[in-house]
């Protein structure tokens, strides 16, 4: 659609009006003390809000703090999971899974992760590298060769989209772990 054409001539000059309010009828300042008083009250509210935000951030309500850190263990003792229940968009974090002795079968640990780990939570690397990774339904099955006492694997995350994302982890033949991870912008 073309820009509208100005049909009326643009006013190039206009006479001076007494448009700026005066004080003591002599100094044109345009002061509005009543408006300013209302602003100060509003400003106080904003400072209270800012203080609350800083306190909440220190506590980890927006990630990277004590309230954000989570720890869970499956009832059968297969997995001991440390993660951040509140993540920050595009900010690296680690999800650690410590396996129990019953996680290893036939010299390998097979763990299925939902695809949200790769998509929304932005899995960047796995330590150690899995020996195999297989697409399996709405997730990925990772296989790690292990001794009868497997230790820990770590996923390096860097969330790619803000929001609430479900995450499922399951060692083959064992109890499933479900959680929701909040990614703040």
């Amino acid at each position: 659609m073309p820009f509208p054409i100005q049909t009326e001539p643009i006013e190039k000059t206009k006479p001076i009006e007494d448009s700026v309010p005066k004080i003591n009828n002599e100094l044109a300042v345009g002061s509005d003390l009543e408006f300013q008083r209302r602003w100060w009250r509003w400003e106080n509210g904003i400072w209270i809000l800012f203080t609350a935000i800083v306190v909440a951030d220190l506590l980890g309500c927006f990630g990277r703090g004590p309230l954000a850190n989570a720890h869970a263990r499956t009832n059968d003792g297969t997995m001991d999971i440390s993660y951040e229940r509140i993540e920050r968009f595009s900010t690296p974090s680690m999800l650690k899974i410590k396996f129990g002795p019953n996680a290893s079968r036939d010299g390998a640990v097979k763990i299925w992760v939902s695809d949200s780990l790769v998509k929304e939570l932005g899995n960047q690397r796995i330590i150690p590298q899995p020996d195999a990774s297989t697409l399996d339904g709405h997730g990925i099955l990772y296989t790690f060769q292990s001794t009868p006492h497997p230790d820990t694997i770590q996923f390096g995350l860097q969330p790619t989209s803000p929001g609430i994302h479900s995450l499922t982890l399951r060692v083959q033949g064992a109890e499933e772990f479900n959680t929701k991870i909040y990614v703040v912008p």
């Binding site: 004080i23 003591n24 100094l27 300042v29 002061s31 509005d32 003390l33 300013q36 904003i46 400072w47």
Partner: protein
């Protein structure tokens, strides 16, 4: 897309933060206020560009901020109340030999600040001042008494 959204959010958040820091950052910057302005700008820039250091990203962010600023400036002229919200209104801090203590306290203006502004107009003492006005840009205008 994220860059433009972050740049717009950053613009308005910085505008709010600077606005409620009273007016001193706008003029008469002290060393501590310099630190404040540069640090806040630096922090906002980190979130704005993220890990995209491309020329495209930088150009889009600058254009987005320029556009938002232009829109705000236009709206300020059209709606004077918005101008008062964004920039504030001038405030009288000294009137006919009387300090306006409420304004001075709330705006964190000291009599030394008024005197500093007065000296730039070759005014030697406070009793030579008829009016002192804290302007919207943070400067203090001084009107001398008639001799």
């Amino acid at each position: 897309m994220y860059t433009i959204a972050h740049a717009i959010v950053g613009y308005f958040f910085l505008l709010l933060a600077v606005r409620i820091l009273s007016r001193r950052p706008g003029a008469q910057l002290t060393p501590t206020e310099f630190v404040l302005i540069f640090l806040m700008g630096g922090v906002i820039i980190l979130a704005t560009v993220g890990d995209d250091h491309s020329e495209t990203n930088a150009v889009c962010a600058v254009i987005a901020v320029a556009l938002v600023h232009r829109i705000v400036a236009t709206l300020k002229i059209r709606f004077p109340r918005l101008g008062a919200i964004v920039d504030g209104t001038p405030l009288v801090v000294l009137e006919k030999g009387q300090w306006q203590t409420e304004v001075m306290k709330k705006m964190r203006v000291a009599d030394e600040d008024v005197m500093a502004a007065a000296r730039t107009k070759s005014i030697k003492t406070l009793d030579e001042i008829k009016y002192a006005v804290l302007e919207r840009n943070g400067a203090i205008s001084v009107i001398k008494k008639q001799q």
